[in-house]
């Protein structure tokens, strides 16, 4: 019986130097996939290659051999020997492999828990293997299930929610203050890259218009143009605060440039509608006292980092729920996989009896040349009924056996008794 396996390395098991040497371009992967399949090492195989992991998923009679061949080939391109790779590899089979596949697709095994790219990467790897015709029913079932599990986890848990980068964390905070960011005005003080990034994130959520103030007027104008905003003279930025909802500061000023007194004035003139300060500068651009003013919220880089940490903790708590969900799905899938294993036996058993039936029917009818259409029909129906009755019990038993786990033995026995050719599925090339 062929075994489902996964072998590979990820950000925990191997250093980046090794991982990047094994990350190959698509053409090379195609070659390796076809080779593993042609040589009969893997009946089914796909390779997932991202910057954080290189993994081979497959179905093989001898998974150890298949793994060695796969990683020898993956290393060969850049002259990395199997001996160098081997200590960093993990190897899982059957339900452990299923669990691994589900966890990877659902981003529970990712370096940044819940990051969304991995699902797309798994889908790409699957599509590549499909185009190389190295995907059979087992990998197909495994991956479609993995995709649906990943989707469920994304919608039913919050493992992918809550920002894990400072600039996105700032956007989320803004949403916790303003609800929708639609038509919220932004003032960007300083032309730093971080500030620009944060402004862009806010704009993606509908924030507009954007004002840019910078000591160098031409830089302010350039950045304003890049963000389709308006440049305001640097001296006027305190006055502009009254007209905006979010102020992002990222200047290199050695001491605070946003004073509590000015903010208080701005808040007063905007009737204490909230004003959110994102201070990305070090040393800080916004006086700490600003946060004490009613309606003002000020987050500096350290605060944002704390929020990111809290967000990650939240993701980890959610991950526990996700893991429970994955485990339930693995159990379900194992049952499906076992069902899948008896299908070829059932098919060849049916084929065998059908061949016998048609042969014997032909023989009998040739001895009855004068038989009427009615007779022929009756004989046809009779032979079919006999075959179906004979097949009924073994097929039911075989299907039931998957639940008790002795289906492999039973399938073999049936093949032996009925003289079936060994079920090959679509594994052989």
């Amino acid at each position: 019986m062929a075994t489902l396996f996964v072998a590979g390395m990820n950000h925990r098991s191997a250093g980046v130097e090794l991982r990047e040497q094994l990350a190959l371009e698509e053409d090379k992967l195609r070659g390796i996939l076809a080779d593993l399949n042609d040589r009969g090492l893997c009946a089914e195989v796909m390779i997932l290659s991202t910057c954080n992991r290189v993994e081979v998923y497959g179905l093989a009679e001898a998974p150890g051999e298949a793994r060695a061949a796969a990683f020898r080939a993956l290393g060969a391109a850049r002259g990395v020997s199997l001996a160098q790779v081997e200590p960093c590899l993990y190897h899982k089979t059957e339900s452990e492999a299923v669990l691994h596949a589900f966890r990877v697709a659902a981003s529970l095994d990712s370096m940044i828990l819940g990051e969304p790219q991995i699902l797309g990467q798994v889908k790409d790897a699957f599509a590549l293997a499909q185009s190389c015709r190295t995907v059979g029913p087992t990998l197909h079932a495994l991956m479609t299930q993995a995709f649906s599990v990943a989707k469920r986890i994304r919608t039913e848990t919050e493992v992918g929610r809550h920002a894990v980068s400072a600039s996105y964390a700032a956007v989320e905070l803004a949403r916790k203050i303003f609800g929708s960011l639609e038509d919220k005005a932004v003032l960007l003080v300083g032309a730093g890259e971080m500030g620009e990034l944060a402004a862009r994130h806010l704009m993606e959520q509908g924030a507009m218009p954007v004002y840019v103030a910078n000591r160098t007027w031409s830089r302010a104008q350039d950045l304003a143009q890049a963000l389709s905003g308006t440049a305001v003279p640097y001296e006027q930025f305190p006055a502009t605060m009254a007209a905006v909802d979010v102020v992002i500061t990222s200047t290199a000023a050695p001491e605070p440039i946003v004073r509590a007194l000015e903010v208080d004035r701005a808040l007063h003139s905007r009737r204490h509608r909230p004003l959110f300060f994102i201070d990305l500068a070090v040393p800080r651009n916004v006086e700490p006292a600003v946060n004490d003013l009613e309606g003002a919220f000020c987050y500096d880089v350290d605060d944002l980092r704390l929020v990111v940490e809290a967000n990650l903790r939240e993701r980890h708590k959610e991950a526990q729920r996700a893991e429970a969900l994955v485990e339930r799905e693995v159990a379900k899938f194992a049952a499906r996989l076992r069902d899948l294993e008896v299908v070829p036996t059932i098919v060849s058993l049916r084929e065998k009896l059908e061949t016998i039936r048609l042969g014997e029917l032909d023989k009998a009818l040739s001895r009855l040349p004068a038989a009427s259409d009615e007779t022929r029909q009756v004989m046809e129906a009779l032979s079919q009924a006999i075959v179906n009755k004979v097949l009924h019990a073994p097929i039911v038993k075989l299907k039931d056996s998957t639940r008790q786990g002795h289906h492999a033995r039973l399938a073999e026995l049936i093949s032996e008794l009925f003289g079936l050719r060994r079920p090959q599925r679509e594994r052989e090339p």
Partner: protein, 268 residues
């Protein structure tokens, strides 16, 4: 029959409250749906209980304290279900239902039975009571929104996001909810109280003659009137408005307490 229905409804509210608190502090989305279901079930049973009682008594169930509290709860739960949907504030139940329970369990038990004197049961009095109760129910929600606002504002100011931070909606949503419930409740309260003044003038000779409930009600009205005018003028919002909402609710509780504990002209 009516008592059984009322007990079952109350049980559903208790279950809904536990579930709502569980949702606020835990992390099971199912609890949010369950809370709504339990609340709706409770409300439907409660409606039936009120109808049955009305039929049994052959009058609107608004004459005794137990009846009025029951109606306040009924309207509050209805408004809560509406606001939760309209403002997509899934945790609203966790802040409204406990208040409902306190009212439902504590007020009618062991305290003076307050029943309006038959003399004071003109149609206008009934309208006075009904309108005031709708106003009170909206103000219970106003209180819940204010508490939620202050909690969330605190989380944002101290920069230490806890479980509540992730569950509560934005400050903007909470501020709008608090304003909306005030603008909804205040006209009812005002009209209700005016009718009260009008009826009292006729029944007692003087609108406020030594009646604690009437006196406290006017203080309560004044606090809410101040909050509303401050908000409408754009001077108060957010935290300040939330503090006023809390103050208003404290007076509201005192008013109810006065009605229950102190002897006055509202009942015997």
């Amino acid at each position: 029959m009516n008592a059984v229905l009322y007990d079952v409804a109350l049980t559903a509210y208790i279950i809904a409250t536990a579930s709502a608190l569980g949702y606020l502090l835990g992390r099971r989305d199912g609890l949010s749906r369950f809370t709504v279901l339990a609340t709706e079930t409770g409300w439907v049973l409660h409606t039936l209980a009120l109808v049955v009682r009305g039929v049994e008594l052959g009058r609107v169930p608004l004459m005794s304290l137990a009846e009025t509290v029951s109606v306040v709860i009924w309207v509050t739960v209805f408004l809560e279900l509406w606001a939760e949907r309209a403002y997509r504030v899934k945790v609203l139940g966790a802040f409204v239902l406990p208040v409902v329970l306190v009212l439902g369990l504590a007020l009618p038990t062991g305290l003076r039975v307050l029943v309006l004197t038959p003399a004071a049961t003109s149609a206008w009095v009934k309208v006075h009571v009904a309108l005031s109760l709708v106003g009170l129910a909206a103000l219970v929600l106003n209180f819940a929104a204010a508490v939620m606002y202050l909690l969330q504002e605190r989380q944002l100011k101290t920069k230490h996001p806890g479980t509540v931070y992730y569950r509560l909606p934005s400050l903007e949503t909470l501020d709008r909810l608090s304003y909306r419930t005030l603008t909804l409740g205040f006209p009812f309260l005002t009209t209700g109280l005016l009718l009260g003044v009008f009826s009292a003038g006729k029944a007692w000779g003087s609108p406020f003659a030594y009646d604690p409930l009437a006196l406290f009600s006017s203080v309560m009205w004044a606090v809410y009137a101040a909050t509303l005018s401050g908000r409408a003028a754009g001077r108060w919002r957010g935290r300040r408005a939330a503090y006023f909402a809390l103050a208003g609710f404290c007076v509201l509780l005192l008013t109810l307490g006065a009605g229950v504990l102190l002897q006055g002209k509202h009942g015997t």
